[in-house]
Amino acid sequence: METNTILDVRDLNTWFYTDEGIVKAVNGVDFSIPESTTVCVVGESGCGKSITAQSILNLVEPPGKIVSGSITYRHNDGREVDIVQLKPKGRDIRAIRGKEISMIFQEPMSSLGPVNKIGDQLVQTMLLHLDIDKDEAVKQSIALLDRVGIPKAASRMDSYSFELSGGMRQRVMIALALSCNSRLLIADEPTTALDVTTQANILDLLKELQTDYSMSVMFITHDLGVVAEIGHEVVVMYLGQVVERASVEEIFERPLHPYTEALMKSIPKLDFDSHEKLSSIRGMVPHPFARPPGCPFSDRCDYCMPEKCLTANPPLEEVRPGHWVRCVKYESMGEV
Amino acid sequence: MWWRFRKHKVALVSGAIVLLIYLVALFAEFLAPALPDAHARDYLYAPPQKLGLRVETEAGSRWQLHVNGYTVFMNREALRREFTLNPDHIIPVRFFAKGAPYKLWGIFEMERRLIGPVDPSEPFYVFGADRLGRDILSRVIYGTRVSMSIGLVGVFLSLVLGVLLGGISGYFGGPVDEIIQRIIEFLRSIPTIPLWMGLAAAIPRTWSPLQVYFAITVILSLVGWTGLARVVRGRFFSLKTEDFIISARLNGSSQLRIIIKHMVPSFMSHIIASVTLSIPAMIISETSLSFLGIGLRPPVVSWGVLLQEAQNIRSVSAAPWLLMVPAFCVIIAVLTMNFLGDGLRDAADPYNT
């Protein structure tokens, strides 16, 4: 593991054992998160992005289970720990959650305790992980609420979440995530449920905080516009697998995988010709029990070569420096 | 809905048992070995006989469905007769035995019954006898008819009231809804048993058993409809804003047509589940009232009436079958109905526990 990497996910498999059969929500995912970097994970709904995020904190609930693979977290002092090996309810993983890695969720409406005061939740988290007393925790909480842009922070300590707007709640969630100076922030579609203006404000805030605290962010989204704005690196996922991985500039300049390419085409552009039709990706994400054989994207792919694509799933290969793709088009191509 | 229901094995088995219980209620006359009020002075408090399959004789053992006769002796201390089973006295038993004539459903004259002693004058008390020497098994079977039907009829009445008022409440909303909701709240806030007791006590003693039967069902449903009305109202409210209802309205369908064609079918399954869950409550209510002596009265036989006769703890300790047999019936009926209703409800609405 390279020294500037703080999280390394190797061949992660998280499966759901449902009554109807096994759903391979995460099916052999590899990627890593370098220090002080924002990595965006992109893909349509149902691609396993959220489950990957939950796996990183070992939060996957039954019937889901991490079946194999490793998630290596590198502490500040260089100590490495494989999160997969920790007991999901044990002391060791709890010391990482909220302290080293924290998480914010898609629905700000339901991710705060509904009958708990905002201040109590902040103070509780700080007292749990930091070596400070209650007065200090209250003081820091107020400062933090102020920092994330909540007006009259001190008086908001006694508010309940239902008294706040969606944007404010998400700010509180961010404050909670920052409360113990964690080094990695997992943001699971944090702006999806918000209206457009609030979305932009929250994105600006996250971007600003990332630089200020020089933390790493794993940002899950299906919106490539967001990626362009805040991302450093991009991981494209499809049906539980990483299909392409590269820096933001590279991805936007040279999308290689047909899926990434299709995603790109579906973004409206400023120089958009009104006679041209905005393209959308053909078909939909297949049902988990109806995965096509071979390459999972083959049934929606414009370049599908039946004899190759339907027989085997190609491996994820580095076809340019730092640019990895999983597609037969670039097989043994080396440099493009 | 059906395939989801099938996943509930317990509910499925319960459904089969419920069906069985209703079949017993339907064919009570044929299934009961004796008439419910046929008494026998020689067999007061006779204990249950065991149904045997093989008979040991000097010539070896042979297959013969039978029960054993009784030996009677006088317990001078307790001043009552006591029975023991006499292993030497074999009473042959057969299916479709002839017994006292009866009318099935009050129409068809019949003599044969499902099971009975070959010689009708011999005692046959598989579940024992009561203080008048009446067969508990037969009485329980006849009681099934009354107790189970009172549940059905009562629920039917509550359903009519509940769907009507709940539907009105939910469809029109506004002040109408407000008034009906207040009434429901009021009815739910008063303890039912004292209210029922008050109403039931007002039934004139001179009424015929049939009149009392209907009066009791009406009294039970007077309070029972509120639960159903709430379900219906809730469904109406949520359906009113559903796209398919709105589009039907925009298409110019009449209100009645919307209700009958679109809304009723979509909450039918909920109604069925709620009804199934209301029946056991009705059964318990009837049983409780009859037990207290203000519900159904002899000569009508219901489970509650049977339990009322088991009220005296001294006679029960001498003849526990008086209590155990009807109690078992009530518990099984209520339990299976509950399981069935739960299964139906889960199947109708898997996201709402």
């Binding site: 709890r94 998480m103 705060l112 909670l176 | 008063i190 007791m197 007002a202 004139p204 203000i294 088991a310």
Partner: protein
């Protein structure tokens, strides 16, 4: 908060009025007016009824006057003088007969409520957290049985078992030598010794119901994001459960006091008759059977009023515990 309490209390008044009307209607239901029963009763006791007494009684209860006048006399007597009328059977004022029995009914109902809570809360939480475990299935099964057995049947079976196997009679709330004794520590102990049977009988169904409610509510809450969010902050499972989902799931639990009270009082009535407890049940049914209607109406009205007040208390309690309700009622 104060405004909310006042609002709820005012809303209770019409309900109480309707309850009094219903109770009055019940007095009126039996054929013949109750003076006939009084006369019959007095004559049974070998007394002759002179016309002066009759006229006095008639005037007192406004008999022969329009129904609404009778109702007003009855109700104003209760409100202004605490006069519930006279029991014809006991030939005493109803007020003398009902209070101690209502008190004991309240004690039994309240104790049962506490009992159901103490038992149902931990079991409900356990079954939700350990969903589909053996313990869950056992609790669910016992819960179903608890719901399926009518109170009086459970009482009968318990009595039978106690009588048959322990050779003791379990009826009543006091030992024979304690019944008329003045209140003392020994009498309280004696009461507690007898109290547990009706409490178990009454509480079983309620406990089963509450376990199901708690389990269902908590299962709903456990699915919500805030639970995972709290877990993602590193809270231990126990702290997390206690401070987040259980607190939310507790609210419907508290509101169950409201609807469990009518059921409890109902159950207490039947159970009391079976176990011959000195509470309202046996006297109420006697009064109903003998058509001693003032006594019966007083019981029906007071029992109903008791539950309505109980519901009010639970609503206020709920508003204190759940900040969201206060919020919704602030405007």
């Amino acid at each position: 908060m104060g405004r909310y309490i006042i609002k709820r209390t005012l809303m209770m008044i019409p309900t109480l009025v309707v309850i009094s009307i219903v109770s009055f209607v019940i007095i009126q239901l039996p054929p013949g007016d109750f003076l006939t029963s009084v006369v019959a009763n007095l004559e049974d006791q070998g007394q002759t009824v002179d016309s002066a007494t009759l006229a006095a009684l008639q005037a007192r209860y406004g008999l022969g006057r329009p129904v609404h006048v009778q109702y007003w006399r009855w109700v104003s007597g209760i409100i202004l003088r605490g006069d519930f009328g006279r029991s014809f059977r006991y030939n005493r004022p109803v007020a003398d007969l009902i209070w101690s029995r209502l008190g004991l009914t309240f004690v039994i109902s309240f104790t049962t409520l506490i009992f159901t809570w103490v038992v149902a809360l931990p079991i409900g939480v356990y079954t939700a957290v350990k969903q589909r475990s053996v313990g869950d299935y056992i609790a669910t099964f016992i819960g179903f049985i608890g719901l399926a057995i009518p109170n009086f049947l459970l009482a009968l079976v318990l009595m039978y078992i106690a009588f048959r196997y322990f050779n003791q009679s379990v009826g009543g709330l006091f030992s024979p030598d304690m019944i008329d004794a003045p209140w003392s520590f020994a009498k309280v102990v004696d009461l507690l010794n007898h109290l547990w049977i009706p409490v178990v009988v009454l509480g079983t169904a309620g406990t089963a119901g509450l376990i199901r409610i708690m389990r269902a509510n908590l299962l709903d809450e456990l699915k919500k994001t805030y639970v995972m969010a709290a877990r993602a902050r590193g809270l231990s499972e126990w702290t997390l459960l206690r401070q987040y989902p259980v607190r939310v799931a507790l609210n419907p639990f508290i509101s169950t006091i409201g609807w469990s009270l009518p059921t409890l009082v109902s159950g207490a009535t039947v159970t009391a008759i079976v176990l011959s407890l000195p509470t309202t049940g046996p006297l109420l049914i006697e009064a109903l059977k003998a058509q001693d209607m003032f006594l019966a109406a007083a019981f029906i009205m007071m029992l109903s009023a008791l539950t309505v007040i109980g519901t009010l208390v639970s609503d206020i309690l709920l508003a204190i515990v759940d900040p969201r309700i206060k919020y919704a009622n602030r405007g």
